[in-house]
Structure formats: C-alpha cells, structure tokens
Subunit: 254 residues, 2 copies
C-alpha cells in the first residue's frame, strides 16, 4: 500500500531540491524501470497502474496505484503506467583512467548532459567529472536522453578549478595534457593524444569553458568549421572530439 503522503513525496522528486532532500529520484517507463530493477541501484518502490498490469507483467513487491495518483507522480502527459523510486547512489571520487577522462563544465541543458552520458557509454567511458553547476543528472530529461546510460556512467561533482589544479600539482613529474573545446584551438585532426591519462574539458553551449579554467587548459582544440554554422551542439561536439581522440589512440596502440 502506498499512502497519499508517500504519493506526495514521490511526486515531489520531480524537483531537484526534493531529490536532494530525500536522496531519491524517479525513472519512468517499462524499459528503464526493468533496467534499473536489474542494476545495482537500490530501488525503493515500483508503482504501476492496473492498465499497465493488464498489458505487462509486474513484480511481486510492486505496488498498484490509481491512474490519478500516477498522473501526480508522472512527468509525462500520458504516463506510461510504471515508475520506480530509486535511491541516488553514493557519488564515487573520480579516479583518472588511462586514456581519455571527460570533464563537463557548466552544462545546463539536461538533454545535452544525458546525450553526453550516452556518448560516453558508447565509447566505454565509465565516469564523467562534472562542475558543481552542471544540471542534475537525475533530472527527468537528462535520464531520458541518456537512454539508460546513467546506469553505466558514474558522475562526480567537484570544484573543477581546484580539482584540476590538484592534478597538475600531483606527484607525477609530467603535467597532464588538458584538452579544452574552443572555437579557435588546434585542429582536432592534427592532435595526437598522449599515452598517459589526459583530460577533455567541454564547456556549455552558451558560455563555453569558464574563464577560471582557461589557464589550466594547456591544449585548446577545435573541430574546424567548413560551412556557415557558428557552433555545434555541445553533445555533438563532444562526440566528434571523443571519437577523434579515442580512435587515434586505438590506431596507435594496436
């Protein structure tokens, strides 16, 4: 049984401040609910409507609620009829890996953030570092755009300036390469990434990479334009840069 107070609490998870307060988020729709159910995440509750149960199987411990209550919780005009309340996993400290390490600075569009998680997942990147002001990963639009990749790509939020400084003052004698996506850097087609762990910083579409990070980026790079568009969408630019950087490495090392 799900009480009206619980319905109200679950519905509140549409807003970031209540996700933070309760440490929970919502996923909605058959495919992603099943993916979450079979993942390592802690599922607090799965709710479904009788219409959903008539069409699809439901689990033993799932709770039936009325269509009216589902409407309150759902983010869709036409709710798919199943929603999971999930515990936000504990954020793991970001551990630089061999090869490319992806850093997002001030990405505020949830669709772009979700699309970037999906791209990272496609290329086998299992963690992404976010600036503190990036949009919430557990935003509904971000989760949707990630197409389930939020389950496989860990995210951590840090003060990027402080974090990058600590990397450059690390014990290693070699300062790591930090690529940054700019409109006037070295052509991506002429760049050969190092064998050591390196970083790729992507800024927001509206503001680019923040001024305070500029001095920490030692390798500004660019996708050269050949036509009239002023810029590329942040997720599209991320995809092209990751593809060029990672697949160069692949060719060099095989």
């Amino acid at each position: 049984m799900t009480s009206q107070q619980e319905i109200k609490q679950f519905a509140s998870l549409k807003l970031p401040k209540y996700r933070q307060k309760y440490g929970q988020f919502l996923v909605e729709g058959r495919k992603v609910v099943e993916e979450v159910f079979h993942s390592d995440l802690h599922v607090v509750r799965i709710l479904f409507t009788s219409e959903y149960a008539q069409k699809h199987g439901v689990g033993d411990n799932w709770d039936q609620i009325s269509s009216k209550d589902m409407q309150k919780i759902s983010q869709f005009d036409t709710p798919p009829g199943v929603v999971a309340v999930v515990e936000i996993p504990k954020s793991m400290p970001f551990q630089p890996q061999a090869g490319l390490n992806l850093i997002l600075d001030g990405i505020s569009d949830p669709g772009n953030l979700g699309a970037i998680l999906r791209i990272a997942d496609w290329y086998g990147i299992s963690q992404v570092l976010l600036s503190e002001d990036c949009v919430d990963v557990y935003n509904f639009k971000c989760l949707s755009a990630s197409m389930g990749s939020f389950l496989r790509v860990q995210t951590s939020r840090v003060d990027l300036e402080a974090w990058l400084k600590s990397q450059q003052n690390g014990s290693s004698s070699l300062e790591p390469v930090v690529y940054g996506a700019y409109l006037n850097g070295t052509s991506i087609y002429e760049v050969t990434p190092p064998e050591q762990p390196y970083f790729l910083v992507i800024g927001s579409e509206a503001h680019g990479i923040r001024e305070g990070l500029k001095s920490l980026i030692n390798s500004p790079i660019t996708i050269p334009a050949r036509g009239g568009a002023e810029s590329l969408n942040a997720s599209v630019a991320t995809a092209i840069l990751i593809d060029r950087l990672m697949v160069n490495i692949h060719r060099n090392t095989r």
Copy 2:
C-alpha cells in the same frame, strides 16, 4: 495594422497543415528574426510587442501587436516579443554534389532533424534529401535546434526508394556508393569514400533505415561500440559519420 483574422491565421502556422495551406512558417526571437530578415527568404510580416520595441530596435514596416495577440502566435510560454511570418521557399530539386550527399530516412524527431541541419551546415553541406515522412523542417523545434542553419541548408523531399533507384540506373557506368548507417556494417574507421559523389543514408532512431531501401544500400557502415550503450542518438551518429567520411577525403585530396 494586423487584423484579428490575420492573428488567427498566423497562430495557425504552429500546425503543419496550416503551414502547408498558407505556404508560410513562423520564426521567433530577435536573433533568428534578424537572420531571416537579412536572408533571401520572403518575409511576409514581422510582428513585435511594445515591450520588445522598448528594448530593441524595430524596422519601419514591422507591425506592433498586443502582448495578448503575441501570446496567441508564440510557441513560447514567455514570448520573446518578436515573430516573423515567412514564406516557405520553393523546394529545389536535389542535385548530387561531389563528395558526401546526405539522405535522411524517416527522421521523426524535430530536434534531431534540426541538429542534423546544423551539423550539415557546419561541414559545408548545403542540401539534404529527406524521405517524405521526415518531420516538417518548419516545425518550431526543428528550426530552433538548427540554430539558423535552416537558412543555409536546403532540403528536398522525395520518395527515397524511387529516387535512389533512378540514381543507380543513371547514365554513369559506375553505380554510386550508398553508405547506410547500421549497427552491424563495416567499421567507419576502415572506410575510404570514393572520389565520385556518394550518399550517406541515416535512418530514424526508433526504426533504422526502412526495409525497402536495404537493397539500394551497397555499403552498410557502423560506428563500432566500445561500451554498454545500445545505440547513439541519430544526430550524434550523423555527426561522427560525416566527420569521418568528409575529413578522410580532405586528407586524401590535399
């Protein structure tokens, strides 16, 4: 003066059937209205509110309307205060060019279509061929996502099956290369495009390339996955494929 009947007609342009009926579409917001104003398109009317005029300059022949009327026409909850009614340009027949020719099959998401026009524009592709069931280019979300690139990238709609067949039975003795984006084709990293005009077909995210086109695609290609994501967003995949195909050519020919 703009009559109530005109307001009603302009507001109706939010729907595809009225765009078709009147042969007009709407663009909204300062930047794109100015871009359209300075383009070759025929602007039927530019409408603004007094609030807009107080903040920005307006043209001599622009018409002031009430905020209430603007609300009727606008696609935004908070209208930017300026909207242009524009004539839909006559569609030009698609003329295959040297190098890459982009063909979209059944792209139904307007954000994806707009993003693809923006990518085409970035890479200097000036025309895109659409299947008849692609979403309307003059859909508000498509225009927004294109970030003005709809002004520089022409689109034509055809029966793709018939059109591609006609290309393959053309006068040239050489059958053109038709790449198609699949999940199990040749790795894009191993493909070298021909010097002759060639085609790249992108299908919809949900359904891929339609069955009827399969026999006309002589070179299925793939971006190899390295991680857990099942697929890439259609616009992201298009960007990576265009980048790999076009920039290979660049390197070969310079």
